[in-house]
Symmetry: C2
Subunit: 402 residues, 2 copies
């Protein structure tokens, strides 16, 4: 597997993209489009929130068809809590886009992120699509910019991997937890690949990989109305068709790498985040227990606040493991912190061991810190990624609209 | 039911209490004792955390005996993650206390709150008990002070209620979410009553009432290693014995009032809390759905941050209901805010309605704000209580030990 320098959503063969300013936001780019030269196999995962935005409802229908060719995204307005008009607007967006591209109207995914409860300005959406189509490029950086909200950096990645002698490319872009009133942290992610892969194999791979990547991050524990991961695989690399049970491990690894990098970028760019936390659980009884334990720790407000203070507060970590609901024996747990500044064991068999406070402070003051909890019970492991809880988080999310 | 002015843990007949400074904390009172003149029926609920402090493990044994006569509490040290020595210390505390009081050694509950992972200083615990016993008083305010950690006010309440012509009294005291490094928000609550009631009836009543009170509050969603609610009923009021199925509604109401007031006081005194939020859910399909919805809203960091900013962010509330896992139909929900400054409906049938922003700001700027979500599906309802997420929360929990 090779990471493509400055690669992204248009790195795989036969994918064009564009990003423009359509006027939904004041100044910044606010509409993006991704188009495959040919109809592509699709897979997707959507928010589990009961309150689903209109475009998510539209996309769930498109996913059932198993193939798609384009994705059109707007930021600035989430088209959520917008009733019948919202659903009609999402459909109209897809149809207008399909017409302009000259493709099947059932081949267009639609995503929105931004303000909730405000109807889409369809004239702006249409003029945005009018501007996007002629801007489509096989080497695009604008789409990944146009999907951002309050993100502070563009999130894009691409890799090539050898599949039976054929170079296959996977690219991706994402937006993280931006906040535009009255909205919540929406996560959008788009993956393109020129791999030839059957739909069921792709959906399966995506489902499992999302479990280990996007579902293992937490900025503030809230799940939005618009969260979406959409994958298009157009087969243009020319590899032998991958089917369920025959997906090479190298492809799975590359796929997991792309989704993992995007997931970690989202956490690193979490609202107000100052410190990136990697929580590793080892020696757990089951994979499910390991994941539950890791996720509980990075989701704890008390743990997150301790990391803000670079405080070696192992008690809060053990406590968050304890209330996670996962099966483990507290008296067997070893706990250690590590970062580029060193490594330090603080708990052995569930009890604290004396440690050098200055060394702990030094390790925890780094931008990226890892925690390892070894449960010494089985051989299951999991990793979750989170960020600290800062004054800025409260400021970004608490300040009244101005 | 009559609320006793300045009443508390010693308001019921035959209960003495005391609070002293034993040296576990630098200056403040740090040990408390509650003693019944006679052996009392006991009921209790303890933390569901897998990591249980030593005194909790001791108390679970005492609870099985069904009767107890005294409770001894220390703040400043949680006796958690302290291994075999911790268990021996909890037992020794109970035995020493029983000896000094001349009561059965299996009749003493022990509670601790404070630093985790540090062994108890048993010489201080013993001299604390030595000082507590002669200070015991039928009119005590010191015990409720000695159990506090970073709480900013004493939490005590008592009521009398007529049960078949006999005045029965229920009193209680609690400590909320204090933070002493390296610790987490521990909730301790003690209830005394002179009611005559069978153990199974008391345990049942307590379990149900805790569900509607202490389990419906959230400061930061973390469940500590030491959380405990302990009830002693000594029968000295002389009412006819209440048995399972024959507990008068008036008694249940009074009991719920006492636990509810303590629970609300804990939230009002939550770390850094500036605003008290009451979340009411009505018209839900089941009581369980109503509770899950209400709890999800007051636990959401995004909702809590919005209340800090006095922001009428109905989208975040609807979103938190959506990911709660409860069954409801978003398109039927009505949402309104109210406070002493007025009332305002912001969502009707799942869609926003235009509202006066200035009025909203005025309503939400009050110290106590209520939200009502009517699901219009059934007749189940529930209420949860929470607080806003503030800079001070991050400061209290994030600042490095100094």
């Amino acid at each position: 597997m090779t990471v493509i320098n400055d690669g992204g959503i248009t790195s795989p063969k036969g994918f064009k993209a564009a990003g423009v300013h359509a006027g939904l936001k004041k100044v910044k780019k606010d509409m993006a489009m991704v188009v495959s030269d040919v109809l592509a196999v699709s897979a997707a995962a959507f928010t589990t929130n009961k309150v689903k935005a209109a475009p998510v409802i539209w996309d769930m229908d498109i996913l059932r068809k198993g193939k798609a060719q384009a994705i059109v995204v707007n930021s600035g307005n989430a088209n959520a809590c917008t009733g019948e008009k919202g659903l009609a607007d999402a459909e109209e967006t897809a149809l207008y886009c399909a017409g302009k591209l000259g493709i099947d109207e059932n081949a267009v995914f639609v995503s929105s992120t931004g303000v909730i409860g405000v109807p889409l300005d369809m004239s702006k959406i249409k003029s945005g699509i009018d501007a996007l189509v002629p801007s489509l490029s096989y080497d695009d950086k604008n789409a990944a910019e146009a999907i951002l909200t309050t993100d502070t950096f563009r999130k894009e990645v691409a890799v090539t991997v050898d599949i039976g002698g054929v170079a296959v490319t996977i690219g991706g872009m994402a937006k993280g937890s931006g906040m535009i009133h009255p909205n919540m942290a929406t996560m959008l992610s788009y993956i393109t690949t020129d791999a030839a892969i059957e739909q069921s194999a792709l959906q399966n791979l995506m489902g499992n990989t999302v479990e280990d990547t996007f579902n293992m991050i937490s900025v503030d524990g809230d799940t939005s109305t618009n969260d979406s991961v959409i994958v298009l695989a157009n087969g243009m690399a020319g590899n032998a068709m991958m089917t369920e049970g025959s997906v090479p491990e190298a492809f799975e690894e590359a796929f997991r790498f792309v989704l993992g990098e995007l997931a970690k970028d989202i956490v690193k760019d979490g609202e107000g985040a100052g410190r990136f936390i990697e929580m590793n659980v080892a020696g757990a009884l089951t994979k499910k227990d390991a994941k539950t334990l890791a996720r509980s720790v990075i989701s704890s407000s008390l743990v997150k606040a301790a990391f803000f203070g670079a405080d070696a507060n192992w008690g809060r970590i053990l406590c968050a493991m304890g209330y996670s609901g996962a099966d483990f024996e507290p008296s067997l747990v070893d706990l250690s912190f590590s970062s580029p500044a060193g490594e330090l064991c603080v708990v052995k068999s569930g009890e604290p061991i004396a440690f050098d406070e200055d060394k702990a402070k030094k390790i925890l003051s780094e931008k990226e810190v890892s925690v390892l909890a070894d449960c010494h019970q089985g051989d299951a492991s999991a990793t979750a990624w989170g960020c600290d809880l800062t004054y800025d988080y409260v400021k970004i999310n608490g300040d009244y609209r101005s």
